[in-house]
């Protein structure tokens, strides 16, 4: 019975002609007029007219609802912290080196960008290959062994961390050494004289 009542509302919303009695019945029945409201709201959302149909105190009513919710105490998170700290260290070391693993995907996208600007025949002959990223690290075994052998995993990780550290150290020293280099061209001799006279 109630199923068919809702159906009547639905038909009305969709502009199907109904008898006046049915209309009155909906107006009188609180549940049905709520349904009428809701159906129209759904229709508005689908048509993208939401902002106009949302009540002004929308946020307020939600915050009230939240306030009346019973408070649930959050479970302690400490237990998982040892695992996390190991993970955190690696991420930290990784980032400066430059999130190497993800680079390949963006390279693909960027190549597209370049291709558009460039004489097509130039690049069509050399289709993008995958950029080589981190290549056979001697110290790192496949992930399967990481899951099964606890002690191994530790040494693997420390080898890996040490390796990342070494690479990062070399990279930053290389960049520093480039900066600690004097490049002087003939045109700026004048500047030198000027500056030393200060």
């Amino acid at each position: 019975m109630s199923e068919s009542k809702f159906e009547t509302v639905s038909l009305l919303v969709d502009n199907y002609q109904q008898s006046d009695e049915k209309f009155d019945a909906i107006i009188d029945d609180e549940q049905l007029s709520d349904t009428w409201d809701r159906y129209h709201l759904i229709g508005d959302v689908i048509r993208g007219d939401v902002s106009s149909s949302l009540p002004v105190d929308f946020a307020e009513s939600i915050s009230q609802a939240i306030a009346t919710e019973p408070t649930i105490l959050a479970p302690a998170t400490k237990e998982i912290s040892p695992k996390q700290s190991i993970k955190g260290k690696i991420v930290q070391l990784f980032k400066p080196v430059g999130q190497l693993a993800i680079a390949a995907s963006v390279t693909g996208v960027l190549i597209l960008g370049v291709q558009q600007n460039v004489a097509q025949n130039e690049i069509n002959s050399v289709m993008p290959n995958q950029v080589i990223q981190t290549i056979p690290f001697a110290g790192v075994a496949d992930p399967v062994s990481l899951n099964f052998q606890q002690p191994d995993r530790k040494t693997q990780k420390s080898i890996y961390i040490e390796q990342q550290r070494r690479f990062q150290a070399l990279l930053s020293d290389h960049q520093r050494q480039i900066k600690l280099k004097s490049i002087n061209d003939k045109t700026s001799v004048k500047d030198k004289v000027e500056d030393s006279s200060k």
Binding site: N117, N129, V131, D195
Partner: protein, 335 residues
């Protein structure tokens, strides 16, 4: 009846348009680059760039894109009334990394070290310093090719390729403003056509007068100039690098400690004008370790231990080239 006539007429027009369009597009793609720009050789464009970089007052912003990350920079350059070049290059995200230049003094302000100055007329940053130096020094190892035109940063741009003469290096693509000759975009691309790094300018303003911050720089007190050892030519090690790609020359050699690990190394740096390659040699605890390398954008860091000597090669070169350089290191007394 009339309407259908008109329809047919338009239909015909459309069809004609479709037929003509692709062929003209194809022509555009295949021919004009060489044809339309042959009048101005690529080298002239690069010289124009160098002159503009040295003489114009410009304020720019650019973004370095590599490793799925974008690093935004601001870059000001100008020449004051005394003819001294002033320059500011600042990284805008994360810890501060500012570089100032006044004439022949370049000062680096970095969060992880004391500020220092170097006697140099070039800032070392994401943009190869050779562009504002002397492009001619690249002619031994690279060819300059004018590729075509494009639109970058809302401006008509000229595309120039800097192509390595051998297969051991990457190439640069430059998009230059047709009006001012300044950079609008650069890309570092492998010989296979893979993009490794790119710099996209997001703002360019060329003004007749100095930017305010540059005026301040003219009076600012800069950190003490670091005395760079001049004994590069004299430093002798028990090892030597026997192979490098064409055009690379030794620019530096010294012994120093690497900041992060406090490891002391023997160090040589080579340059072909565009690319810097560092070679590190140090004793190692392990007697042998296979080759390992990582890539940061275009920069490869390669490391191996042979006969208890750790050899590392760092630079914007393909991994194969780095490996060949590392393998070519020979030790006196051993070999």
């Amino acid at each position: 009846m009339k309407i259908s006539m008109i329809r047919v007429y338009y239909g015909l027009l459309l069809t004609l348009g479709v037929l003509i369009m692709p062929s003209s597009l194809a022509n555009d793609i295949n021919n004009p680059p060489v044809k339309t720009t042959e009048s101005i050789p690529a080298k002239n464009w690069l010289e124009h760039l160098t002159t503009s970089l040295k003489t114009l007052n410009f304020s720019t912003s650019f973004v370095v894109v590599k490793n799925n990350q974008a690093e935004p920079y601001r870059w000001y350059h100008g020449v004051n009334s005394k003819g001294i070049e002033l320059e500011i290059l600042a990284l805008l995200n994360g810890p501060r990394r500012d570089t100032l230049r006044r004439g022949n003094i370049v000062s680096y302000f970095e969060s992880n070290s004391q500020p220092y100055s170097v006697n140099s007329s070039q800032i070392s940053g994401p943009i190869p310093s050779v562009f504002s130096f002397d492009i001619g020094i690249l002619e031994n190892s690279y060819d300059f090719v004018s590729v075509g035109k494009s639109r970058i940063l809302g401006r008509p741009a000229q595309i120039i390729r800097i192509v390595s003469k051998d297969a051991n290096r990457y190439g640069y693509w430059l998009w230059l403003d047709q009006e001012s000759g300044l950079l609008l975009k650069t890309a570092l691309i492998t010989r296979e056509g893979n993009l490794l790094e790119q710099i996209q300018f997001t703002y360019l303003d060329i003004a007749p007068t100095l930017a305010t911050s540059l005026k301040h720089l003219a009076e600012a007190e800069l950190p003490k100039v670091v005395n760079l050892s001049t004994q590069t030519e004299k430093t002798q090690f028990s090892w030597q690098v026997n192979w490098l790609p064409l055009g690379f020359e030794r620019v530096k050699a010294d012994r120093h400690r690497i900041n992060l690990t406090q490891q002391s190394v023997e160090f040589m740096q080579f340059s072909d004008g565009l690319v810097d390659v560092s070679v590190y040699v140090s004793p190692s605890k392990s007697s042998k370790r296979g080759v390992e390398f990582v890539k940061d954008g275009a920069t490869v860091v390669l490391n191996q231990v042979v006969n208890s000597k750790e050899i590392s090669v760092v630079g914007k070169i393909p991994a194969n080239t780095a490996k060949a350089i590392a393998d070519s290191v020979s030790f006196r007394g051993i070999r």
